[in-house]
Chain length 217, copies 2
DNA sequence: AACACACTTGCTTGTTGACAACAAGTATTT
DNA sequence: AAATACTTGTTGTCAACAAGCAAGTGTGTT
């Protein structure tokens, strides 16, 4: 690979097939994201995505097979970013502390990358329809979130920091429902919610509900 | 009106224009609801709705103007049923008691009329897209829910049953987010949630968070 | 090493069928 | 006969597919 001597020639003109694909792929995913924000899923056409990305009207269909296939790609792409953001924030922490770190991370992600969250949830909500190809994507994403929370809770119980009488499944569902529900309200009406207040209140609620009454025993 | 002498002739054949419209209207709304459950919003065509209701392919468009107009009608129709169900359950109650009654009523409504809730939320979630005609419908519905909760809380504060240090807006948002989020998780995966457990846990959480620590003072 | 040829992969343009929306008609009630 | 409920004819848009063109890649020959 002697690309160093030539790499400055024209960055936007790839030399290999892999580079071509990577370039058009990221351009189309970005175009899809902005078009979803501008016009919604219904209002976004595959032709518009291809052309907005600087290609022909046919490329999006060719590359992703179908509208659903493209949107699946967009959602997994954003989901990946969120997962790495989350795991960096929580690390190896467990119990209520892990949950609070995750809550912080989520609200931070919402204000850092609001467009990612908007698009991701627009796509996920589209998965609430029967026979939607996004349904499985959304389901596994949320079930994974619930499973994470359940793990943090049971680890907390094992470590003695969490009251063993709590129902891990119910509390995990409650936790995910809070985040999903807040996100939905925010999507409908971005200005009406005071996230800082809500976040602190929710974390306090988590502690009082889950924490062992006598941790020092 | 001497309709009594003839009413048994053919119940399905209305005699007045108003009856004709009412008949086709309810038939089409019902058809729309079942088709949404079967095939989703995308998969439901206006022609299919008209024909499933026993009319021509064009009637749905003619009556409601557009697909969005029809779905708006479906959603307000279901919403009306829920509102009367709720107001009957809560009555003139206030404070945390009112909120708990509302929570009970909601989970009861979900198991009594799951198809209503499914369709209503499929439509509401479609309103998360920008420039969706369902957006305003969903927004006002949820803002009304939040406003109700806020009213119950401030009334409770005024009556001395609720701790005056709580943030009514934050708690009201939390309350609605819980219901909306749980409904979404249920829509994605109806079997995985133990509603009885979740409901009781949530009501307990409401009481501990909101109730005045020393109500007898 | 340099060239040529066959092959693969990326991308574009042509076409079809489905559907929402509208317009112009027919049937039913008043 | 006038108005209202409903039906049928038509158009433009879009997703999906098919067939072709263009750019890149591997292999054998010299």
């Amino acid at each position: 690979m002697q690309s160093d001597s030539k790499s400055s020639e024209r960055l936007s003109t790839p030399r290999t097939q892999a580079e071509r694909t990577a370039l058009s792929d990221s351009a189309m995913l970005a175009a899809a994201q902005t078009l979803i924000l501008e016009r919604g899923i219904e209002g976004t056409t595959l032709a518009a995505i291809g052309e907005r990305a600087g290609y022909s009207r046919g490329l999006a269909t060719y590359r992703y097979g179908s509208k659903a296939g493209l949107f699946r790609e967009v959602s997994t792409n954003i989901h990946r970013r969120w997962v790495s953001y989350l795991s960096e924030a929580v690390g190896e922490e467990t119990g209520v502390d892990a949950m609070c770190l995750a809550v912080d991370a989520y609200y931070r992600f919402v204000s850092d990358a609001p467009e990612d969250i908007r698009v991701l949830h627009i796509l996920y909500y589209a998965g609430s329809e029967p026979s939607s190809e996004l349904r499985d994507i959304a389901r596994t994403a949320f079930q994974r979130q619930i499973a994470d929370a359940e793990r943090w809770i049971t680890e907390g119980v094992n470590a003695g920091t969490i009251d063993s009488s709590v129902s891990a499944t119910a509390e995990a569902a409650e936790y995910v429902a809070h985040l999903a529900g807040m996100t939905y309200l925010w999507l409908l009406n971005p200005v009406s919610l005071r996230f800082d207040e809500i976040k602190d209140s929710f974390k306090r609620s988590l502690r009082t509900r889950l924490l062992n009454a006598a941790p020092a025993t």
